[in-house]
Amino acid sequence: MHLVVCAKQIPDPETPPSAFKIDPAKNEVIPAPGIALVLSQFDGIAAEAALRIKEAAGDTKITVISMGAESAQQAIKQVLAMGADEGVLLQDPAFDKGDPHTTAKVLTAAIKKLGDVDAVFCGRQAADWDWGVAGILIAEGLGWPVSIIAKGVTLEDGKVRVQRVIEDGYETVDLPLPAVVTVSNEFGEPRYPKLQQIMQAARKTVTTWKAADLGLDPGEVGAAGARLKLERLYVPEKEGKAEIMQGDTPAEQAQQLVAKLQAAKIL
């Protein structure tokens, strides 16, 4: 079997809000000093889902693909260290400044080029832009069924069984292969690679494909192909500081708070 994991490298989402700055002229996030670029956490969980299927099924190849800058090699290497077999970096200036639809177009073209893929695993959303559409659009582009926000995934008899998170619980569904599944944090933690695996990953192959390698016209991807135009990116204003209860003891503070809530007719 051949499984694909889509991975994205993002600024560490644990960045404290105080360090988060935007360049209003460029509508871009200013990279904060000391903030690492990391594998989007949901993509690590998607990789974990693929790895568990590989372990259960045996004789399975996992290819990790990532669209991004040269630095996205690190995100690919991390999934390789977890246990994936090969990596593909999709890198071309023509891919820059697109929208989720152009990104999905690039990823779809790469999966088509890989050719013999049985299932694609994506995180439920990238933990920077939070769109949550790449996996669904890849499924559309490939003409495959899709199930999203999975907390459990297993493969058997040419079918993928997904436990999907819904508003009031979970639903178990079967999709015929090939299929796309997006994986949520409810799935569980991704594994942490051992030092030996990290060293092995350094020797695994990462191929780079450009727009021309994928048969994509530069006009249909990146900024040129985007249908969503970012007009403005800004930091919403916060109302300010909380009124802190000043009593000497927790009991006094609690009394004060209740009095305030009563005065404001909240309680």
């Binding site: 999203i148 009031d168 969503l228 007009e231 909380a242 802190i244 927790p250 503070q253 404001a264 909240i266």
Partner: protein, 324 residues
């Protein structure tokens, strides 16, 4: 500029959902004289249609087939595409729900256009539609325009106002053609819900975070909610607390959990990470209880107590009981 707007509605027990009312409100404001349509799919759809006309719909596209009662995006997609065919919308509004999350991108793909997800603002800007959505876990807001038509947008619950009900308004019901095949087979469904009041419906939500230090910490959080009233207050949790297995994921408040907008939100030992605030910042009043006076939660809170929740909650519970 007059626009045709199509809303993908959802309903239960014959009543359009609150979010459907909100979407119809937004659609009415955007339509500016254009037509507002709504799709309703599943058992009782044609009955639910009557309630959408006073809420702003002029035409309801319905199919009562029970096949639609379980959401399968490929089936819904075919039905909604049929409604699009018949109503030529400029804008399609969908809830950011289990159904909307999966349906909107597929619909956009089929219509060769784009979908903007989880929008909190949809507005006319000089004749063009603009939508605004949170990004970077709520640290930023991003405003987009569309270079393709129709514009497809999913809209966050509670972000839009319904219109004042237009009593006696009637509209036209159109039956959508028969249900299509699905490649998704539903095997089973497991309801995982807290008993009693749901966090989305509660007037007061008391949430606990990683700072509780242990799952036992939730006993005090639950006691505080109980003191406020079982019929008023529900208990939530941060993602960190849910990921640690301290509280059920069904109670998770935040970007990847539930979005709540109670009158009062009490955050106990929650630092206030952006992704958590994305789920509760619409609350009318936020109270923060945290031992770290620098915690981000105090920036969004109206009232705060700086202290260890183990010391603060017992007297707070007593004071609330005494105030009743």
């Amino acid at each position: 500029m007059a626009r045709n707007v199509l809303v993908v509605g959802e309903f239960s027990e014959g009543e359009p959902s609150t979010t459907t009312h909100e979407l119809l409100g937004a659609a009415s404001r955007l339509s500016d004289g254009g037509a507002v349509g709504v799709t309703l799919l599943g058992s009782g759809a044609s009955g639910a249609a009557a309630a959408t006309f006073p809420a702003g719909a002029g035409k309801a596209f319905t199919n009562d087939d029970a096949e639609y009662d379980v959401f399968r995006s490929d089936q819904w997609l075919i039905a909604v595409l049929a409604a699009v065919e018949q109503s030529s919308p400029d804008v399609i509004l969908i809830a950011q729900s289990t159904a909307g999350r999966e349906l909107a991108p597929r619909l956009a793909f089929r219509l060769d256009t784009a979908a903007a997800m989880d929008c909190t603002m949809v507005q006319d800007e000089g004749g063009a539609l603009q939508v605004t959505r949170p990004a970077y876990g709520g640290n930023a807001l991003a405003t987009y325009s569309f270079a393709s038509s129709p514009a497809v947008a999913t809209v966050r619950a509670k972000s839009q106002d319904p219109i004042a009900p237009n009593a006696g308004a009637t509209g036209e019901s159109v039956a959508l053609p028969g249900v299509g095949e699905s490649r998704t087979t539903v095997i089973g469904r497991e309801k995982v819900e807290a008993e009693g009041l749901q966090i989305q419906d509660a007037a007061v939500v008391v949430s606990g975070g990683r700072g509780l230090g242990s799952p036992e910490g939730f006993e005090l959080v639950e006691a505080l909610a109980a003191a406020i009233g079982k019929d008023k207050a529900a208990v939530g949790a941060s993602r960190a607390a849910c990921d640690l297995g301290w509280y059920p994921p069904s109670q998770q408040v935040g970007l990847t959990g539930k979005v709540v907008t109670p009158d009062l939100y009490i955050a106990v030992a929650i630092s206030g990470a952006s992704q958590h605030m994305a789920g509760c910042s619409g609350s009318k009043t936020i109270i923060a209880i945290n031992k770290d006076s620098e915690a981000n939660i105090f920036k969004s809170a109206r009232f705060g107590i700086v202290g260890d929740y183990k010391q603060v909650l017992p007297p707070l519970i007593e004071a609330i009981k005494a105030a009743k």
